[in-house]
């Protein structure tokens, strides 16, 4: 088999990211710390370039003997992942500079991790899946400990690494079992071979799903999430909460739908369990939190549970629900973290959301936007978060998973409690000292995110249609 460069066309966004990461690493290494700004800017440009290339690139293609596939589904998720990575990187530049944590390695690692995500989203076989997953995760382990002088940050990185390595091991083990019992690593061929569920195959699925659950931080493999979210610097947490979740969810859906459609009733139970557990834990455990980042960790656990409701349905409509959910989740998360990143007083960052007290009086616009996001995260109509939940629950109901849907609705009611408490604190508590004015990047992100969330219901058609097209690609 020979490969010409032209044949690599469909992988052009990935190539761009890989090459820019290497080039920027060289630039940073040789030009020293003063080049950080340049590296940041160029990394952003590379992410943007990759986004453009994804959008104008071919709609369908397969490379490397089916290990790498480009389709509408992958495209949708890649756009989300790139937006997530770009958005968080843009917001973090100033923050890291003020906190004196700006290093040129950070944007390079973000690029590498994003490259891993892209590979992961496009994975067509287990090898590519594992490669993408590790490329993404290894970079994430490092940036979790970006603030090297902080014990919490390094602890977060170490914990993430140890648990991540453990779960990667499980995934790998599961993957090798699947290979052993089906004789192939390629998703399509696994689907062919796995018509009859054998015990070994089920073991394989269980272990692989365990690994994937870890990456999307679904219960019971969520334990790392609160600690890492709390320990890592805020922009890193924002990154963790956005792009990697999208990528991991994408590969979860793709693997389940492309490789295991014929044994769906076997894994459906796992997903239903995981989904219920995540929604319940995300809702109840968040109630006791004071730290906004930790709260967002539980919130993201809960949201992954909601997204998995769509996957549990196992239908095209369900996948569409997952896609819409991830898109809306991404936007809401970015907006919320834009606020968290700007919780800064003269004497430094604060992370307890009690500090938001009376924000409605000190900065009404920001408070309003954050309130909109909180309402949306709680799933209150007619905001975007409600529509996202609506689609996944609808899919679950049409697939006959009534219990799952009912539990989902109930937990979202419980979850509303802590989101609304933040709104209450902002609007009804005695104002605390005002925060420093918001930087322009978070401000832009917050504005876009809040507006999108608020007005999504007016014209949701484009996103819904794109998600529908993407979902169709898997069936």
């Amino acid at each position: 088999m020979t490969l010409s460069l032209a044949a690599l066309g469909p992988a052009l966004p990935e190539l761009l990211l890989a090459l820019s990461a290497l080039a920027l690493l060289m630039l940073g290494a040789f030009a020293g710390p003063k080049s950080t700004d340049t590296v940041n800017g160029l990394a952003l440009a590379a992410l943007f370039g990759a986004l453009v290339l994804v959008l104008i690139g071919p709609a369908e293609a397969t490379l490397f003997n089916g290990a790498f596939q480009v389709d509408a589904f992958g495209r949708f998720m890649k756009v989300l992942a790139l937006i997530g990575a770009g958005g968080t990187l843009a917001m973090s530049v100033d923050w890291l500079k003020i906190e004196k944590q700006d290093r040129f390695e950070y944007p390079v690692l973000v690029l590498l991790s994003t490259l891993g995500m892209m590979v992961l989203i496009s994975a067509g076989d287990l090898i590519a899946l594992y490669m993408g997953l590790e490329m993404m995760s290894l970079a994430l382990y490092v940036i979790a400990a970006n603030n090297r002088d902080s014990v919490r940050s390094t602890e977060a990185g170490l914990k993430y690494f140890v648990l991540g390595a453990l779960s990667s091991g499980m995934l790998l083990y599961g993957a090798s079992l699947i290979y052993g019992f089906t004789g192939s690593v390629n998703f399509a061929q696994i689907a062919q071979a796995a018509r009859e569920p054998s015990l070994g195959l089920i073991f394989g699925i269980v272990f692989t799903f365990a690994g994937l659950c870890f990456k999307v931080s679904a219960v019971p493999f969520h334990m790392w999430t609160p600690d890492v979210y709390e320990g890592a610097p805020a922009p890193v947490t924002a990154f963790f909460a956005s792009a990697p979740k999208v990528a991991a969810m994408a590969v979860f859906v793709r693997f389940a739908m492309e490789a295991l459609p014929n044994v769906a009733h076997q894994w459906q139970q796992i997903i239903v369990f995981v989904s219920i557990a995540s929604m319940a834990l995300g809702s109840f455990a968040a109630i006791g939190q004071r730290n906004f980042k930790r709260l967002m960790a539980y919130s993201s656990i809960g949201h992954m549970g909601f997204a998995l409701v769509g996957l549990a349905a196992g239908t095209q409509q369900g996948v569409q629900g997952v896609l819409v959910y991830m898109a809306v989740y991404l936007v809401m998360t970015l907006g919320t973290f834009a606020c968290i990143l700007s919780m800064r007083r003269k004497d430094g960052m604060v992370e307890s959301y009690d500090e938001l007290a009376g924000l409605a009086r000190t900065s009404p616009v920001k408070a309003f936007m954050l309130a909109v996001l909180m309402f949306s995260l709680a799933g209150i109509p007619p905001l975007a978060g409600f529509l996202a939940k609506y689609y996944v629950f609808l899919a679950a109901i049409e697939a006959g998973l009534y219990t799952l849907a009912v539990i989902g609705v109930l937990t979202s009611v419980v979850g509303a409690f802590y989101y609304l408490r933040i709104v209450k604190i902002m609007y009804f508590d005695e104002p605390a000292a005002a925060f420093e004015p918001m930087r322009s990047e978070p401000r832009v992100v917050l504005a876009i995110s809040g507006t999108f969330t608020l007005l999504f219901f007016v014209y949701p058609a484009p996103l819904i249609a794109a998600a529908a097209a993407a979902a169709r690609a898997l069936f």
């Binding site: 020979t2 170490l158 914990k159 140890v162 648990l163 453990l166 779960s167 499980m170 083990y173 079992l177 052993g180 019992f181 089906t182 004789g183 054998s198 015990l199 070994g200 089920i202 073991f203 269980v206 272990f207 365990a210 870890f214 019971p220 493999f221 334990m223 790392w224 609160p226 600690d227 796992i270 109840f284 455990a285 968040a286 109630i287 006791g288 939190q289 409690f417 009804f428």
Partner: protein, 969 residues
Amino acid sequence: MSHGTLLLVALLLPFIGSLAAGFLPTHARNTAAILAGSVAVAGIGISVWLYTSLADGAPVQFWLSWLPMLGLDFTLRLDGLAWLFALLIFGIGALVVLYARYYMSREDPVPRFFSFLLAFMGSMVGIVLSGNLIQLVFFWELTSLFSFLLIGYWHHTASARDGARMALTVTGTGGLCLLVGVLLIGRIVGSYDIDQVLESRDLIIQSDLYVPALVLILLGAFTKSAQFPFHFWLPHAMTAPTPVSAYLHSATMVKAGIFLLMRLWPVMSGTDAWFYLVVPAGLVTLLLGAFIAIFQQDLKGLLAYSTISHLGLITLLLGLGSPLAAVAAIFHTLNHAIFKASLFMAAGIIDHETGTRDLRKLSGLYRYMPITATLAMVAAAAMAGVPLVNGFISKEMFFAEAVAEHTGSLLDDSLPYWATLAGVFSVTYSLRFILGVFFGPPPVNLPHRPHEPAHWMRFPIELLVLICLLIGIVPSLTVGPLLATAVKGLLDATPPYYSLALWHGFNLPLMMSLIAMAGGVVLYLGLRRYLESGIEGPPILRDFKGQRIFEKVLATLSWQWARAGEATLGTRRLQPQMRIVITLAVVAALAPFIANGAVGTGDMPGTPLPPGFALLWLVGGICALGAAYQAKYHRFAALVLVGGAGLVTCVTFAWLSAPDLAVTQLLVEIVTTVLLLLGLRWLPKRIENVYPSRPPLKVLLRRYIDLTIACALGGLMAFLAYCLMTRPLTQSVSRFFVERAYSEGGGTNIINVILVDFRGFDTMGEIVVLCLAGLTVFALLRRFRPAPESIEQPEQQRIQHAYDVATPDRSPGDTVADYMLIPRLIMHWLFPVIAVMAVYLFMRGHDLPGGGFAAGITLSIAFVVQYMASGTRWVEDHLRVLPLRWMGMGLLTSCATGMGSWWFGYPFLTSHFQYVELPYIGKVPAASALVFDLGVFALVVGATVLILIALAHQSLRSSRAAQASEGGE
């Protein structure tokens, strides 16, 4: 305009008015009041206008298609009952607006107040006019919401916020229950339309879902109407401005629950479940409310508990289930709204003009405000049920029902006594209200000097008191027709016979009234001293604070349980997290296993197990276990044991006919062990004696659990591997290589051919990675500074050093040099031997176990040995190998070999091979891959030595650091 459309107008007007008021400037007090007043008056007008159309008994309807696919229409429906409530809402509303105009201060944002008030009015009208149940629940929730906003109107005071929040939480939760209950009703009946529901009594009562639906609906009604045990929110809602208390919390909103009970009374009442749920709740509320009201020190608190008590009375009446009792309930609802609203307004005036509502401070106000006092006395008389005022008549009806209703149960039989007792209490607190506030000595230390209020502020009270008197004296002429209309709306065709008259002759109810009045006076006189002592709340009961329980429950739910849950279920420590992850994985994997029960081993037979091999593995297993055990206590021992396990692996490879793997494994084992040894030196020391004697049981238990988990997981893994290995491989690539290694790669060592030929590109990548790893270790350790506690020299070195210093003709380091003399010599001499060995491995690599990688590692071992024998300083002095150069050369060689094939027009890394005859040595393979392998060899040597140097150099650096720190001291 049709009558139906008029209904819509009546519903929409308040909301439009609310919106308009919301846009008024902040201090437009008069405009907002006029706006609100005109809306209310228009509402009264519409109600009066529609009265005539109700005469024939058919309800007025308005219908609009809303959500047809869910079978929901927007329906408005006005029957007699709804009409009476609508009139009450608009009528009291108009008076409250007038009153509020004077009550609210100029500084308050009054338009906002009126905006909320109008919106509330609209929601309330929405409840009574709703033609389907879902719509009713919707407006029900709206009233909760606006009640929240109105209670929290003075949001700058904490008690207002707390009261508002509590009211919303309680009524909102109740609303949720109600919604579920209504959905159940919809499921039973198949429609939410009230007309249809009212026709389906049999269907509902016989349904299995009747009791759940009833309980849920009652929860909704009881929370809204402040029935025991949900009554506690109402007194706290009294922090609202007094017009709000008069309107929402006595006349209208709290009656919404009553209205709902009346609405569903025809279809749900009359069963045992209804009786035993509603009557006890009503009775307890009636008595408890009245009892607590006696002991209140806050004027509005007294009225609030009195309201609770009267609501309990109405609930009790509805619970009895007889039509006459229902008539009495409607009548008392109307009467209570009238007299309680006027009393609240009077209390508001007192508060407004004196600056306090505290009964302990107020007294003798009759002197200053005689008119208000007179009005309040009449209203209070109605509250106490004194003849000639309206309260008396409905109370008589209640007594009559309490006596009449007898089904034989204990609850039934005791009702007259309880009713009389409640009557006694109500007389007592009415007396306390009047005598305490208006009579007695002149007040001292009041915030304001009391005087009569503005006339228009008093006007609503005057009007209401007038109505009280009119109803009380000539009931059949005034309220008779209205009540008849309402009763027609509530009951089906034939209303029961009842007589509205002041004088029914000397009968049992009248006796009860007289007893109640006499008893009330006696009780008041008896309690007088206790009440004047100024203790807040009734004896015993004051310790049971609904609010405290409520807050406790909220805090428990929202913080403590959540915290406790996280503390028990979650953990921030890594070890338990890993334990959980692994346990879950085991459980998840075992679940299908247990479910299916079948063991999925394959069909292939196992090979027989030779005893020697078994022993070998036993040793390996013990080594591994020992390593795991020692990892915590003695890292050095653990490392040695790991080496042992590795060695067993090597032997296994050799045993199972994989000499190539065995060689590589052995060499890698040696190098990594040495590198790890070097690294171990810098790890922080273990804290000895954490537990002074022996570890506590908990710790031991934890360790054994860990051991069990590890064994379980390991066993599971091994078993799965066994299952896999006993299956035939579906397809394997090895056949491909076996067939072509010699024919196409020219080598009989398949592994080596794969490495340098078939998968040359992979190997290329791997050596680049190795190169990078070496560089990274070097780069990281270049900046490495050992932790202060590990700088210190090892004990052995210190002793030797001290001996050398102490002995005159020795210099430091001599002892080591002495006793390492023989080993050092041997090791020096070994260097060329090992080097030759490396060349040998390299050369034969193409056909026999060996190759560039193995050779590179072997040469590195030669260097490692020198380090061990002679120390870092000596090696670094004598090192002629520049690792970086070796690595660079290796990489370049490999690349160049690969690119060489371009020269001949082949793709990158295409290899060429042939055998050449060399003198003395014989036939050797001379593939181009050999050159590539040479690159691999050079790189491996370079990278390993680089890592070695980087690690070993630390010992020099740390001794320098130690000297520096000693010098510093």
